[in-house]
């Protein structure tokens, strides 16, 4: 059995396209016998990373590239968009107390990715943003 699986896909900005990546994740997890609870958390990470990337991808480059590298021990998720980038340190961390009664209730993606992953790296510049997430699976 192959114990190190890699999946690379390019996803266009289409409604629910993140489900294509989740389908791949499910197959890889099943193949390696990954625990359902860890797999569930990986689903959340993959979903948030992709919708965040597509949201920032821009009109000229409406797609993201996604790479998964999975072993029985860990999953590394790399999502790259080619938008105009942003300064991560300037993104205010959301708080539920502020979101209740606020008009804008969104903006949770980075917080979820940071909190649910075991390692979170974000590199952003004028040519795009790369997010690398590591999730331990045991």
């Amino acid at each position: 059995m192959q114990d190190n699986i890699k999946l690379e896909i390019k996803l266009p900005k289409v409604q629910d396209i993140e489900l294509v990546a989740l389908e791949g994740l499910e197959l890889m997890s099943s193949h390696l016998g990954i625990d359902e609870e860890k797999n569930g958390e990986a689903r959340i990470l993959v979903t948030e990373a992709i919708i965040n990337g597509l949201e920032h991808s821009g009109k000229e480059t409406p797609y993201v590239t996604v790479e998964f590298t999975m072993t029985k021990e860990k999953l590394v998720i790399l999502v790259t968009d080619y938008g105009k980038g942003f300064i991560p340190d300037e993104v205010k961390e959301p708080a539920i107390e502020e979101k209740i009664n606020a008009e804008n209730k969104r903006g949770w993606g980075l917080k979820l990715m940071k909190s649910m992953s075991d390692d979170f790296i974000i590199e952003s510049g004028k040519n795009g943003t790369k997010i690398t997430l590591t999730k331990h699976l045991v």
């Binding site: 489900l19 569930g40 958390e41 979903t47 969104r106």
Partner: protein
């Protein structure tokens, strides 16, 4: 896989019980919110959201649920989540939703909650 979203609802003991099936994204979140506004009346102060058949959510879909929590809190009501997948439970915990909403293991437990 999980792209279709279905929602059924009923009134039980003056509570609005909604059960979802599938992905709660912006469309799923919007459908839940529309059902809430359609069925909520002055006699209902508890809304139970049964997520037993939902295995994936995203933060955009959850932002619609925050709107429901907000509206219920304004009227002295409460949102109770039931049958949460562990990953969704963890997601809601990270976001702090349980500071303003409750969770129960089953609809029956949710119905008897104060």
């Amino acid at each position: 896989m999980i792209s279709d979203f279905n929602l059924i609802s009923e009134i039980k003991n003056n509570s609005l019980v909604m059960a979802t099936e599938g992905y709660i994204n912006n469309n799923g979140g919007q459908k839940i919110t529309e059902e809430f506004y359609d069925k909520k009346n002055d006699d209902i102060n508890k809304v139970i959201l049964n997520l037993e058949k939902t295995k994936v959510v995203n933060s955009i879909g959850i932002s619609f649920l925050i709107e429901i929590i907000e509206k219920l809190n304004e009227s002295g009501g409460k949102l109770v989540f039931t049958n949460l997948d562990p990953s969704i439970d963890k997601t809601f915990t990270i976001m702090g939703l349980f500071h303003f909403a409750k969770k129960a293991d089953s609809i029956e437990e949710a119905l008897t909650m104060e």
